[in-house]
């Protein structure tokens, strides 16, 4: 039995703990031994995207130490996975010792749905969720990791679930990390465009692979007093 180490991300740890629990349950049902290295915190993306590379490197080294011996590292976020997979090499390009650590860990880093479909080879996790949902393609999952069909195949096998695609599903929700608070009006305007697309589908739930995008969308949905809820795909897949 393979061992899977969860990197739940700081946002799930602090704000959406149920997403992490749901992910653990799905992975255990799929036959994996799941552990949670307790020293973990954040991947460093907030500082990196704001331009603070030295501060990011310190946090990245901490991550690399914590997960040094993990067999698989599974993450409920395309964005944090992309950060480690695609930006860590850039961060440590002048530091051969840590670059080697990065290159050792990169093949073991997996976004949750990609891990299910590509490593575990599971598309039907035995879930049941009798709801009408729409799916938001998170930008980094889609464009950095090529995640498009995987989550949809997983959803297609959820009993009772109806997927109604929004147009366009691939347009950014406007979160963008510190962008969301540096340019609040712009970020909110982008979220509103997304909310309009969601509302047009008539779905009860918006499903996504990134808690941060879902927080942005939920924030705009509830401000607009719409009854639609966001839900992380791990929580959908954990429903029975």
């Amino acid at each position: 039995m393979s061992r899977v180490s969860l990197f739940v991300t700081c946002i799930v740890d602090q704000l959406f703990p149920k997403v992490g629990i749901a992910m653990a349950e799905v992975l255990e049902r799929a036959g994996f031994e799941v552990d949670f290295p307790e020293e973990q915190t954040c991947c460093g993306q907030p500082a990196f995207n704001t331009g603070y590379r030295a501060e990011t490197r310190d946090v990245a080294r901490h991550f690399l130490r914590v997960f040094r011996d993990a067999e698989y590292i599974v993450i409920p976020s395309g964005s944090c996975t992309g950060m480690i997979e695609q930006h860590y090499p850039e961060l440590f390009k002048k530091d051969p010792v840590w670059l080697e650590q990065v290159n050792r860990i990169r093949p073991r880093i997996w976004e949750f749905t990609k891990f299910l479909t590509e490593v575990a080879g599971v598309e039907d996790v035995g879930a049941r969720f009798e709801r009408v949902v729409t799916f938001h393609d998170s930008c980094h999952a889609l464009r950095q990791l090529g995640i498009k069909d995987g989550p949809r195949r997983l959803l297609a096998n959820v009993r009772g679930l109806t997927l109604r695609e929004m147009t366009p599903a691939e347009e950014c929700c406007g979160f963008g990390g510190t962008f969301a608070v540096k340019f609040p009006d712009l970020s909110t305007a982008m979220a509103k465009a997304k909310v309009d697309a969601i509302a047009a589908t008539g779905a009860e739930y918006v499903v996504g692979v990134d808690a941060s995008c879902l927080m942005q969308i939920q924030g705009a949905l509830s401000r607009a007093r719409l009854p639609i809820r966001t839900i992380h795909i791990a929580e959908v897949l954990a429903q029975r």
Binding site: T41, D185, G219
Partner: protein, 469 residues
């Protein structure tokens, strides 16, 4: 962010008519592009992008060689190359030329490079008459506005806006039909073409092995502007050179498709020197002005050199959720959208428009459609880091830097991290976040969005309980 831009962005966001004009125009361009790059229509689209990028990389890595080759070929064709350090050099050359030839009337075809150096206003101050002949550019010249978009300069205006403008500026009857508006412009511009002494064009590509300037246009005005007047002056950035004529198809297949969803632009003109004997038309004199204006500074920066690969198709603007919201006039320079955010600070100085590279959610839609595969998000991130560094060098430690230092320390001390998380959760409690905390970043968030309910226990606390049970 300077207040002027904050206001411009705020005004754009709250202008519903503008929002719908920009949103629908860009959506149309996106859809048309998608149709013509689809695998069934253009199976080698991705290979073409790779190839175009490789050609640009090779050319810019050997730019001196190809520029000199281009100059030699232009000279052999009977034309002349003018090397211009900046806009002043271009204006000096053109005013000198006009004086020498006794010319006063200039017609122009569309060129972003001349917009970049604000050529029209500067020539007018030298008492030359300059008339834009591209319909969109002509509309903007009448409206005294700068281009809203690299490819579609008047994208933000509706036909009703144009009807008002023509009635006001040209003294014609208010006409809302686009075909009839075109005929009005055509009538006015035809006279200008026939009377002009000098025709100015841009250059989409400068072909080194043949000394040809290639321009891609849709309205035919480019051909008139470059062949009717006795003198043709093409003005292009030095990065526009490509090695060989046989490299052109790669770019031509990508440019029209990426820009407007056309397999090719309606006109692709090859302009190589003055009229030769037995040729029916063409100018008597041909000049190619090669403009630096900061490009060599970008060239010297290997990490960001790819900023110069841009072929100005405008596709990144159309696909950018930020551009589609704030529009072209919220940007500080003539180049808007993701490519504008990347090149403006590099040309104008890093701290001049320092907010610009931060005004992006880094969604990556731009890089996905860029025909020369410029990694725009990577460049934005690099610029953010450089801006933060150079701010620190200038003003010392900022509050933001202190915050990120503290954050970084906390993230390396899981015990402290957990304690702070619990404290925040306790403060938020059942009644939500208390008023004194609803400021700064949190206040910014709450301006237009609600926050999720803060859970009582973090994941790690739930995990421990789960393990213990």
């Amino acid at each position: 962010m300077p207040e002027a831009y904050e206001q411009a962005i705020g005004a754009a966001l709250s202008d519903e008519k503008l929002q719908s004009a920009v949103y629908s125009s860009t959506a149309r361009l996106m859809n048309k592009r998608k149709e013509v790059v689809a695998a069934g229509v253009l199976p080698d689209y991705q290979e073409l992008r790779e190839q175009a990028r490789a050609i640009k990389k090779h050319t810019l890595d050997n730019l001196d060689y190809y520029l000199e080759q281009f100059e030699a070929r232009v000279t052999a064709n009977g034309g002349r190359v003018i090397w211009a350090r900046d806009g002043d050099d271009v204006v000096d050359f053109l005013t000198g030329l006009a004086k020498e030839k006794g010319s006063r009337r200039v017609v122009k075809s569309k060129s972003m490079t001349t917009e970049e150096i604000e050529l029209n206003g500067r020539l007018e101050r030298e008492h030359l008459e300059v008339v834009e002949t591209d319909l969109g550019e002509y509309i903007l010249q009448l409206a005294h506005q700068r281009p809203y978009h690299i490819v579609a300069p008047a994208l933000h205006l509706t036909r009703y806006d144009v009807a008002d403008l023509f009635a006001d500026k040209l003294g014609v009857e208010r006409e809302v039909e686009i075909e009839k508006q075109t005929m009005i412009a055509r009538r006015v511009l035809r006279e200008k073409f026939l009377a002009a002494d000098i025709g100015i064009s841009g250059g989409n590509f400068l072909v080194a092995d043949s000394g040809a300037v290639v321009i891609c246009t849709n309205e035919g005005n480019g051909r008139l502007a470059t062949t009717l007047p006795k003198i043709h002056v093409a003005i292009a950035g030095i990065e526009k050179v490509i090695p060989r004529a046989q490299d052109l198809p790669t770019f031509l297949k990508l440019l029209g498709r990426s820009a407007t969803g056309q397999p090719l632009t309606v006109y692709t003109s090859f302009l190589a020197g003055p009229r030769r004997e037995r040729e029916a038309d063409g100018p008597e004199e041909f000049y190619a002005v090669l403009l630096d204006n900061g490009r060599t500074k970008l060239l010297a920066d290997r990490a960001k050199r790819e900023s110069l690969y841009c072929i100005r198709c405008g596709s990144c603007l159309n696909h950018c959720p930020v551009y589609r919201k704030i529009g072209g006039h919220s940007y500080p320079w003539v180049y808007s959208g993701p490519i504008g955010a990347v090149i403006t600070p590099q040309y104008q100085g890093l701290l001049h428009d320092a907010w610009l590279p931060f005004a992006s959610s880094l969604c990556g839609a731009c890089a996905e459609v860029c025909p020369v595969k410029i990694d725009l998000p990577k460049l934005l991130l690099a610029l953010r880091s450089e801006i933060v560094k150079s701010r620190a060098a200038g003003k010392g430690t900022t509050l933001e830097r202190l915050a990120f230092r503290a954050w970084s320390w906390v993230m390396r001390h899981p015990g402290v991290y957990e304690m702070l998380g619990s404290a925040a959760s306790a403060i938020a409690g059942d009644g939500g976040i208390p008023a004194p905390f609803r400021r700064g970043p949190l206040g910014a968030w709450l301006k237009g969005r609600d926050l999720p309910a803060i859970p009582q226990r973090s994941f790690r606390q739930m995990w421990r309980a789960r393990k213990g049970s």
